[in-house]
């Protein structure tokens, strides 16, 4: 393109991020560096405190020497790119079926009560929240993602404690709030099956559908 893509804005990758960016660009063959656009937008979003302004979208387009609309397309397509300001702690609450069945509605109430409407930022710039589709941790439903970490098996009281602790600048624990390790069963008395037992179960299992 001969279109002169001028960078007129203030935003610029920090020297630390520039190294990251250059590493990302190296992952792609020569002439195909524009494929790194998602990584670049992600790095830029982190640097900007969790959201992308049009200025930054233009900057990334300028950096990769592509038309602005192409960078805009990517930034608006992916839901992990935020196009409006977010709080220091951005809550992404899963509202998809398993989480909903396990009580995500009560979490939603807490969030609306304590933070406010979706996508709004609290006055102290600490909190914002949105409801998202499946976060892929259904086994530990309900789940909330706060910035980069998952908080699982939440009860509304747990969420209130989390919010209070974050407000008072205390550290919070990530992972399960029902003390399970990764996604092991909650009922610890369950027996671990041996390989033979599994084979036996499979053999005796009823075939799905109508049997003769």
């Amino acid at each position: 393109m001969n279109e002169v893509n001028k960078n007129k804005n203030e935003f610029c990758f920090s020297s630390k991020n520039k190294i990251l960016v250059e590493n990302e660009l190296k992952k792609y063959p020569k002439g195909r560096e524009t494929s790194a656009i998602i990584s670049l937008l992600w790095i830029a979003q982190k640097q900007n405190g969790g959201w992308l302004s049009t200025e930054i979208i233009e900057y990334v387009a300028f950096y990769l020497n592509i038309p602005k609309i192409r960078s805009m397309e990517i930034a608006t397509f992916y839901s992990m790119f935020n196009l409006s300001p977010v709080g220091k702690y951005h809550f992404q609450m899963c509202g998809t079926t398993p989480c909903m069945l396990c009580g995500s509605d009560s979490l939603k109430e807490v969030l609306s009560k304590k933070i406010g409407a979706q996508s709004s930022v609290t006055d102290d710039k600490l909190f914002s929240w949105i409801e998202v589709e499946c976060l892929g941790a259904c086994c530990n439903a309900p789940v909330i993602q706060i910035n980069d970490d998952y908080y699982e098996d939440l009860h509304s009281s747990d969420l209130e404690i989390i919010l209070d602790n974050l407000k008072n600048n205390k550290s919070i624990k990530d992972g399960s709030y029902k003390k399970r390790i990764s996604s092991e069963p909650l009922n610890k008395d369950l027996k671990m099956l041996t390989e033979d037992e599994i084979q036996e179960m499979v053999k005796n299992r009823k075939k799905p559908g109508i049997s003769a």
């Binding site: 393109m1 279109e3 038309p67 609309i69 192409r70 805009m72 397509f77």
Partner: protein
């Protein structure tokens, strides 16, 4: 490799580099589609072209299923494809139902109604009622400039417009933002589009999402008279269809011609039509006491006859404009020759292009479709994007294949493709600066503007030298290409509508006291200071406002006439509507004039004029064909010793949208020009 397949049970054989939809097209099997377009890349997102392939678990989208992927049966049976089975019908019905989920039922107030792909295909492939009870989505309309109107709720996201702007137009302005239900087609932050080819997205849009803003609610397609004709806004003579209602031209759309404009036309060609209706001269005028007064044809013609009798033939001159037909020039030339006057010129811009080095020295020898065979192009003193956007799209098309090297000498422009900029002066025309060793078919594209320089012919001879040196001029390939901006120029040169004595060239005649009576045939781009000025033309523009006698003529949509395009291809316009008021075909005016000065030309109608024209100039015999120039005649051209000056090449098109009297009378063109220059459009 040839491949045999069974389509709906009958056997066909195709080359296996085709896609299934292309093969089905060849086999004359109808396949509905929205997103697929022959000239664009394949998207495969509308799912309308589903067909059944035997052995495939699901219906396949025929637009991106390659024939080479079809496998034979287990015992070597021919691959089988079905387009008429229940599976196919159900699949298409399903796809159609999803497309209609969010499409509004506003066909009665939609400009696309009557020529809408969705409407037609819903009739043939859809179901007759909706099962969708929920609210339809609605999308805000975007303002993307004065030419394209958007009703984005109607959009079915085929992305043809996005692919067109990024692939053919090369401006990458449109895009699809957000996703799924929230997907929207828009320009970046809703800025106006800047491409000179943007009007084509209107034709490409299969629904009424992108429609023509100026044509908004003007007419329905079934009310229009359709006349196939050609365009005269630039030198390539794009094939167009003029749609008219009553005595008005309502719109202009492209007509497919693979050799010239493919399926595209430029915005100037498409949106010029409102200029055909305003500022028209509809009655003869004579200037009395400094003011123009309407008079009858008789009075005006008598006045001219009187002048012609009074003034010596050698003191009469004629300048032909950029949109006159070959017949008009031929008639005028014959008439003037008869009275013993040879002061006529078809180069009102002051160009010094001549016909003395043979036809190949002033036409686009490689031909427009030849660009697709070229492996290098050297652009000298030209901005093809402004001079001929459609031809520029051809160069871009070839460039996108990666097999075209582009060199540019002249001002630095955004041509929508990358080029190596060698310099801005004639001394940069140097074969050693270019890497042309492996190139077999080189185009040396010389712009029209080069000949506005005094050293234009010297530059042409240098280019001819370079072309000889790289053996670009041979039996099977003539690489010298002159890109004309004006529709009538090549015919003018062919006819020799040039002064015998070069001191009587247009730009000299205009200021000369030797010429007392000057005829202007549609010539508006030149300021003349002769004693008596007669303007024969269609628009009250520069030429008419300065004239002493005005005779109203016809526009290109109102007359039948021959034009030679820049390749030297003879084409003809056809009359779509009649000229307004008392205006007449220019050839009739010239004939009447001739009968009055007792030098009667013995023609009764246009056919007789054409017959004589063809007899005298045999190249006018083959309509729609190129009469090739002799490459060998270029050898005379190359033996010149004058060195060109080192002035920079300059582009004379200051505003793409305002280049001739019709464009200057057009409100739409004025709006485009204002948008381009970032001026606010005043309504009212």
């Amino acid at each position: 490799m040839a491949k045999k397949i069974l389509i709906n049970g009958s056997e066909f054989e195709f080359e296996d580099n085709l896609t299934l939809i292309q093969a089905l097209e060849v086999a004359d099997v109808e396949v509905p589609r929205f997103c697929y377009h022959e000239k664009l890349s394949i998207a495969g997102n509308c799912r309308m072209c589903l067909v059944e392939v035997k052995g495939a678990p699901k219906p396949v989208a025929s637009c991106h299923f390659s024939l080479s992927d079809l496998r034979p049966g287990p015992n070597g049976e021919l691959p089988e494809v079905y387009t008429n089975t229940d599976t196919v019908h159900t699949a298409r019905k399903g796809a159609m139902e999803f497309l209609l989920v969010n499409h509004p039922l506003d066909c009665p107030i939609c400009d696309q109604g009557g020529e809408c792909d969705l409407q037609d295909q819903a009739l043939h492939y859809g179901i007759n009622k909706s099962r969708y009870k929920e609210n339809k989505r609605s999308v805000e309309n975007k303002n993307i400039g004065p030419l394209v109107k958007t009703v984005m709720t109607r959009c079915i996201h085929c992305t043809r417009c996005v692919r067109f702007t990024s692939e053919v137009a090369g401006t990458e302005e449109l895009g699809a933002i957000h996703r799924g239900e929230n997907m929207e087609i828009t320009t970046y932050l809703e800025k106006g589009m800047t491409s000179e080819l943007q009007g084509n997205v209107i034709d490409l849009c299969p629904v009424g999402a992108l429609t023509s803003k100026p044509y908004e609610f003007h007419a329905r397609p079934w009310e229009l008279n359709k006349t196939e004709s050609i365009d005269v806004m630039d030198g390539i003579g794009s094939n167009i269809r003029i749609d008219s209602k009553g005595s008005e031209v309502m719109r202009i759309i492209p007509k497919y011609n693979e050799d010239i404009n493919e399926e595209w036309i430029s915005d100037k060609t498409r949106f010029i039509w409102d200029g055909l209706k305003s500022q028209r001269i509809d009655t003869p005028y004579i200037r009395e006491d400094g003011k123009l007064k309407p008079v009858s044809w008789n009075t005006a013609l008598d006045k001219i006859t009187g002048l012609m009798k009074k003034i010596e033939p050698s003191k009469i001159g004629c300048i032909a404009g950029d949109m006159v037909t070959a017949e008009e020039m031929f008639l005028m030339k014959t008439l003037l020759d008869k009275i013993g006057c040879h002061n006529y010129d078809c180069r009102q811009d002051g160009s010094n292009l001549t016909n003395k080095y043979g036809r190949s020295s002033y036409i686009f020898n490689p031909t427009i479709s030849g660009i697709e065979d070229a492996d290098a192009i050297v652009i000298i003193g030209s901005n093809p994007r402004m001079e001929s956007p459609v031809l520029n799209a051809r160069i871009r098309k070839r460039w996108l294949t990666g097999q075209l090297k582009v060199y540019h000498i002249g001002e630095d422009y955004d041509l929508t493709y990358d080029y190596k900029h060698l310099g801005t002066t004639p001394e940069s025309i140097d074969v050693n600066k270019m890497d042309l060793k492996d190139c077999n078919k080189i185009i040396w594209l010389v712009g029209d503007d080069v000949f506005l320089r005094d050293d234009g012919q010297d530059i042409l001879s240098i280019v001819a030298d370079c072309a000889q040196e790289t053996s670009s001029i041979r039996e099977d390939w003539n690489g010298l290409a002159i890109l004309h901006k004006h529709a009538s120029r090549v015919a003018g040169l062919d006819l020799g509508f040039l002064p015998k004595d070069s001191t009587y060239a247009a730009k000299h005649m205009a200021d000369s006291n030797d010429i007392e009576l000057m005829f202007l045939l549609d010539a508006d781009e030149i300021k003349i200071n002769n004693k008596y000025k007669v303007y024969i033309g269609s628009h009250g523009d520069r030429g008419a406002s300065n004239a002493d006698i005005i005779l109203p003529g016809a526009c290109y949509t109102e007359k039948n006439g021959f034009y030679m395009n820049t390749e030297g291809r003879l084409q003809q316009t056809n009359r779509a509507v009649f000229p307004p008021g008392d205006a007449k075909d220019n050839w009739r005016i010239i004939l009447e004039l001739s009968s009055r000065i007792k030098k009667s030309l013995k023609y009764k109608n246009l056919d007789e004029i054409r017959k004589d024209l063809k007899k005298n100039y045999p190249i006018f015999n083959n309509l729609n064909e190129i009469a090739k120039g002799e490459g060998s005649s270029l050898k005379i051209l190359s033996n010149r010793e004058n060195k060109p000056s080192d002035n920079k090449f300059i582009n004379t098109i200051s505003d793409y949208y305002l280049t001739n009297p019709i464009t200057r009378s057009s409100r739409i063109m004025a709006e485009c020009s204002m948008q381009k220059n970032n001026k606010e459009i005043i309504n009212g």
